[in-house]
Symmetry: D2
Subunit: 272 residues, 4 copies
Amino acid sequence: MRDVQSERDSRRISIDRVGVSDVSYPIVVLDQKENIQHTVASVTMSVSLPHEYRGTHMSRFIEVLGEFQGRVTLSSLEHITEDLRKILDAECAELDFSFPYFLLRKAPVTGIASYTRYDVTFKATKGDVFDLVTTVVVPVQTLCPCSREISEKGAHNQRASVEISVRMKGLVWIEELVEIAEKNASAPVYTLLKREDEKFVTEQAYNTPRFVEDVLRDVAVALEGEERISWYRIRVTSNESIHNHNAFASLERDKTRSAEGRAECLPGGAGK
Amino acid sequence: MRDVQSERDSRRISIDRVGVSDVSYPIVVLDQKENIQHTVASVTMSVSLPHEYRGTHMSRFIEVLGEFQGRVTLSSLEHITEDLRKILDAECAELDFSFPYFLLRKAPVTGIASYTRYDVTFKATKGDVFDLVTTVVVPVQTLCPCSREISEKGAHNQRASVEISVRMKGLVWIEELVEIAEKNASAPVYTLLKREDEKFVTEQAYNTPRFVEDVLRDVAVALEGEERISWYRIRVTSNESIHNHNAFASLERDKTRSAEGRAECLPGGAGK
Amino acid sequence: MRDVQSERDSRRISIDRVGVSDVSYPIVVLDQKENIQHTVASVTMSVSLPHEYRGTHMSRFIEVLGEFQGRVTLSSLEHITEDLRKILDAECAELDFSFPYFLLRKAPVTGIASYTRYDVTFKATKGDVFDLVTTVVVPVQTLCPCSREISEKGAHNQRASVEISVRMKGLVWIEELVEIAEKNASAPVYTLLKREDEKFVTEQAYNTPRFVEDVLRDVAVALEGEERISWYRIRVTSNESIHNHNAFASLERDKTRSAEGRAECLPGGAGK
Amino acid sequence: MRDVQSERDSRRISIDRVGVSDVSYPIVVLDQKENIQHTVASVTMSVSLPHEYRGTHMSRFIEVLGEFQGRVTLSSLEHITEDLRKILDAECAELDFSFPYFLLRKAPVTGIASYTRYDVTFKATKGDVFDLVTTVVVPVQTLCPCSREISEKGAHNQRASVEISVRMKGLVWIEELVEIAEKNASAPVYTLLKREDEKFVTEQAYNTPRFVEDVLRDVAVALEGEERISWYRIRVTSNESIHNHNAFASLERDKTRSAEGRAECLPGGAGK
């Protein structure tokens, strides 16, 4: 049977990435308490393709995925990307796993537990070196300092999200990033709150007004001070309750580069 | 060229609906001030198919759509469905246009105007009689009465939506349904608010606490009292700022049926 | 602490459904081989509310959800809805679990296994009686009979989906509904196919041309003949590869009603 | 009234971007034939924020948007970003308009016209210099060369999309980018095709088999040869009809940099 993909290509154009995307697959991840968590990932897998090959062999991505039986850990991410490089004879392999991750959280007063969902992405790239970006999206609440200041009573508040991406020098657990995000918002959100808890959270938010700029900066201070983190990107998005659009703030810092700490005016900025 | 669709089918199964969906098309609609509004619709068009035909002719849906040059009015909806019935020799034709609709709204104190988006759907069905369901989704704010009552200061509030669907005996403008939804929430949302407006809206919401149940009932009272409306369905959904999930309430009433006003325990209820 | 929700309401409007929606929660389901499958559900829970109460107690939905520790089976669905009715003193309780469900499937020639994702929904309603609608969405391939017939070579084909909803008199497994959908399409889809498999599937589809109308009717014949099913609704949607929109066909049949088998021209038809 | 946003901030963290996102707004754009096209945009507007300010004034974004009355042209994009910089006293301003854009297209044999939707984004950044990235997503059809080669009859084909982003030295119309994408796929897609057209398109695709890698490279050749384009990024995504996931290929080239034309193994590659 002819292998069309392996034929020579004469257009002299190497391809940055070729692969499969939006593969929905059951995976297992390890949490901080060493427990196994079953979840469902959206997977993207790709390699670079030298100019002389017409195509890559897409089925091999899924074969490699199957071989790891859905076990997603820091070491398996490096192994999978390394396997992809070898099997597909590529200079570079990349892997994205995006999945919901649940933590059992206690309501602040009654202590009743319920699961909160966090959205996690691992983006692993393997060329000469291995690179891993871990992202977690944490739902929180923000309460507007301006609205509180100028209004006689009340203050508009709303659901917001804190997206933290990091590169690590030492292991940082998802649970730690979640805690940084929740501590620096006006209040966390919970799946289950009894009335005493609702009173607590309402007052906590009222007493902790935060612009998206505030949340962003406080999270940045925490990440800047964490030695295990070498690079980070933060985006805080607030689903403004007085508008039908969102407010957001974002920044990106590479601690390994010059320490100016100044935002550059590059297209895309810290965002996309 | 063989007409496969027109061949006889022997399975003896008539089809309720066959057609095209998710057709993105530019349309023009008329607003209450008799102005033309250009927008973009997601269109679904279908007919019933008798058991003896193998298939329908899908291209004719798009041809009919083109003939009307995107003009969507109450009378064109009836004409389009009637044309579909004739051209496709069908007992029944159905048409859905879903589109964003913009109204210029003034901020409550400064009076500065900006556009607010409302999502509108016309669902037209033509069999022996013509039936039209008009739906509008209105973004609003809700402020929780319980949170306000039990907390020393503040109250959680959030973006919410009021979805109103109606069948009419007399013409009711989208603008009128928008007004009913906005009047009965804790506060409307606006695209542009200056600080004075923000103070006003924050206080308005604090002084008008509303559960989703409250908004639902007040909207129901308004629709019940409106003689031009013969049937309605309401769904209020609140993006709770203390949770990462929503609260909702829904009901459906047919004024032409028995006036019990009692919720039936039928699967699906008023919602879906 | 004041219980605002329990206060009397004077608007005399009973509410069909009030509750929580879009709750993301980890669940476990049992598959046909008696294995446990961990997955993530989007959950909606609601009750009817008599006219005299101002509101329902939303936190109790989540408490009930927690008590069942995410175990979703036919019997737990009845228990949860019955518990909700009692705890919230409601005539009617409703529960929706929507979740991805994975089956290990073998490629047709090489037999290599990979997971395919199916989207399942259980909608349980408990009033005087218990009602359950099970829905599964099955990705498949359709190849156009008209395109094949009129073209010298090739035929357009595309990814499509078969959505089957049923009410049961006897237990029907999700796996059985999946099989009915896949058997009656032009070909199934697979996550992993080697070249021999790709050849097989391409030829299978070419030799099994199917309009959405054909898939719909063949699935209907299978469901009609299955005694354990008392009611069904089918929707076949094809992501036409020659258009940027979809073709669809839908029907709904209640075997317990008159056996005319004729499509009625009611608004909404079999669809939504 | 206190201006909380203007207060001094002591955290010494400058912010890359702060602003509003997901603002839905009616806009008008100019097409190549000098006609005005009304459409609906999703708008993001942001500025950089020096470390000494606590917050930005979000309402001013919407005011600036309103002043331009939705007129989106190359020159208005530069004016809007420049205005934002001045009004908000920022080093850097950024603006994203994403909107559906329609072109009237003729079916290949019958010549009957219908609208095809293309998704366009303008991303404008203004610091010391003005930067503009124009992106258009073009729906097309791909037919698999491997499937065609190894199968006795037929070949799997599917809807795909070609996303082209460019920076320009001279004006390139959206219509030109659309043409480049459609010419280099297996076939374009059309909203309206009669049977003669369907035959043509089916045969055209069968006679023009293309991997995502092929489409990517042919589009790259065209963009490389176009002097008005100084930088480009391409992503081709194919909704594989034999799988429930996608195949994709991507690359990014900056003509102003070294002419190696080799893919680098940087995280994210050409994509995101």
